[in-house]
Symmetry: C2
Subunit: 355 residues, 2 copies
């Protein structure tokens, strides 16, 4: 890992959480935002796996794109070491990479995409073909986000207040964002009048990342503590809750950042609409329902401390699931680059996926 | 203000958030817990008002008891300055004190109780009579809490998991606690098998105070981020949510720490029972419903920062209501020292209050 640069106030149109430059993968270290903007370069697979696990990079699509570039790095090392046997050496690397985090299906999706190229590439120069595929995955993600921005925005009544959770913007994707892409598009079109964001404990992605992105964009954002969302809805201040997804099951059940499910329960109680925005790479048709989505449990210290300082009393335990599952019946619309599924069902999801 | 002492690891049975000793009011500075246990002494009214406003002391019953002792200090100063005209000078002091925080009705209740003594006391030695009344308010609160502990505990099925919010223990009251008193009693009786506590942003009263009290008591506590409560309920891990109250309206609507209302919505959705535990001094029969309870808005900086460190991007706004209102229809039981009201209504609340 090499610290490439430290830059304050990178404007949004230059924000790229994941980038390939100078034959290396570079990631913004999102753990340090918003107080520091540090970009770190990676040349080898083990560091990339650690970066995914330790949340240097986070957000399901961004993790997928990172993994695609990480396969390029791994293949380059294996090919340099053994130009004839690189492929056999690489396959266990791919498995290790795919297992770095369990919930976001984009990680395995991207590794599978890259594996197809590994299997079909010649021994002459596999790296160029793999890099082309990774670049394609990255560019397609950005294009998908812009498409979803338009589709999702069109569902929102002009002048609406909206609430989002976690970070689903440029930092969580190849660029532009999923749920936050809808927010950007909706604000630009005048359909969204006010943007609220949950701070999203324990990692504070809303306070640290979403607020940072929106401030860069000149979009006013009002943060709330996660516990205030129900009261906000009771006051009639939001018409839509707009969130991303880490994995969507075949029936539309959606795993997303912890706190999402409670928002969906509260939205239904208050007659507020609930929108999930995610590319088809987040949909896992191999999983019948949310009950089969593995939910990552993270270190209790994330709840008991903040920024390295212990806040809870010594001796306290913590339960720290990183995600929860929102059942399809609480979701009004799933927005993908291939279209919108309203009131999702297994049949509708199959149709969306062209199955 | 004088720093009286700094003591680590005060055992619970010695925890008194509010105390009268050496002719002064002493308060544990709850902003510093759990890393430091600092007791601060107060001799004059203005410092007491500041301590209430700045949350050196918090928790509706503890605020009420603090106010009672603060009236003693104010009367002493006024009487020393003018033994004949002390009463007239004191009345504006009482108004200022009652306005220190708007939501917890125990503050005004205690000031009104003390005003009656002010009005009836002779000019010879009003301080002794006022101190006796303040001590009585304090002792009665502790007795009420023990009574509520028994009544609330009896509602809970043996071996239940429970979830509590904010801090309602010895630190929030005269001693023992309201909702946390029920937890103590329920654990002691084997009715409560597992205790979960919301960390309770933005002030982290759950992580900092409730966990600290329970650890002192030897009661295992598992903290969750506020956003994880719905998922905890979905997994069937809690049968009761048990909370305190800052003010209960005549129809049973209950103002309590922000986040309470969302818990009530989620509890109802999951078939989890919802219990409010509060002394009758928290019930305001002059207020017909929750719509008429004033809700304090606090500094946005409390949301934009975490444990004193700025976390949100510069330029972000925040909405920071300190309380929300849970409508009576979401409450299964209100537990007071005078009895339990199930499925509260205005009629039932009138009966409870002997009206």
């Amino acid at each position: 890992m090499i610290n490439l640069k430290t830059a304050e106030n990178i404007p949004y149109d230059r924000v790229r959480a994941v980038q390939w430059e100078d034959d290396r993968l570079s990631l913004i270290d999102q753990r340090l935002l918003p107080s520091q903007t540090v970009t770190v370069a990676f040349e080898h697979l083990p560091e990339c796996i650690r970066a995914i696990r330790d949340m240097v990079v986070r957000g399901a699509p961004a993790i997928g794109i990172t993994a695609a570039y990480a396969v390029v790095l791994a293949a380059r090392d294996r090919h340099r070491a053994d130009p004839a046997g690189w492929r056999r050496a690489l396959l266990p690397d791919l498995e290790q990479l795919a297992a770095a985090r369990p919930t976001a299906v984009n990680l395995r999706w991207a590794v599978d995409r890259m594996r197809h190229i590994v299997e079909s590439a010649t021994d002459a120069d596999p790296v160029a073909r793999l890099l082309a595929e990774a670049r394609h995955i990255h560019a397609a993600d950005i294009a998908a986000n812009h498409r979803m921005g338009g589709l999702g925005m069109a569902l929102i009544e002009p002048g609406s207040g909206v609430l989002t959770h976690c970070n689903t913007g440029a930092l969580a994707t190849g660029g532009y964002g999923t749920a936050l892409g809808v927010v950007r598009a909706g604000v630009a079109a005048g359909r969204i009048g006010q943007v609220f964001a949950d701070e999203t404990r324990p990692w504070l992605q809303g306070a640290r990342l979403t607020a940072w992105e929106l401030v860069q964009e000149g979009i006013a954002v009002t943060l709330i503590v996660d516990g205030a969302a129900a009261q906000l809805m009771r006051q009639g201040r939001v018409r839509w809750v707009i969130v991303g997804a880490d994995r969507i099951a075949a029936n539309g059940d959606t795993a997303n950042k912890i706190g999402t499910y409670g928002l969906a329960v509260s939205a239904r109680y208050h007659g507020v609409k609930f929108m999930v925005v995610a590319p088809r790479s987040s949909i896992d048709m191999a999983v019948a329902s949310g009950a089969d989505i593995p939910i990552e449990s993270r270190d209790p210290a994330e709840v008991l401390s903040y920024a390295g300082t212990r806040t809870a009393a010594d001796g306290a335990h913590a339960w720290n699931p990183a995600f929860d599952v929102t059942p399809a019946e609480l979701i009004d619309a799933i927005v993908t680059e291939a279209g919108v599924v309203r009131a999702p069902t297994t049949t509708a999801m199959h149709a969306l996926m062209g199955l």
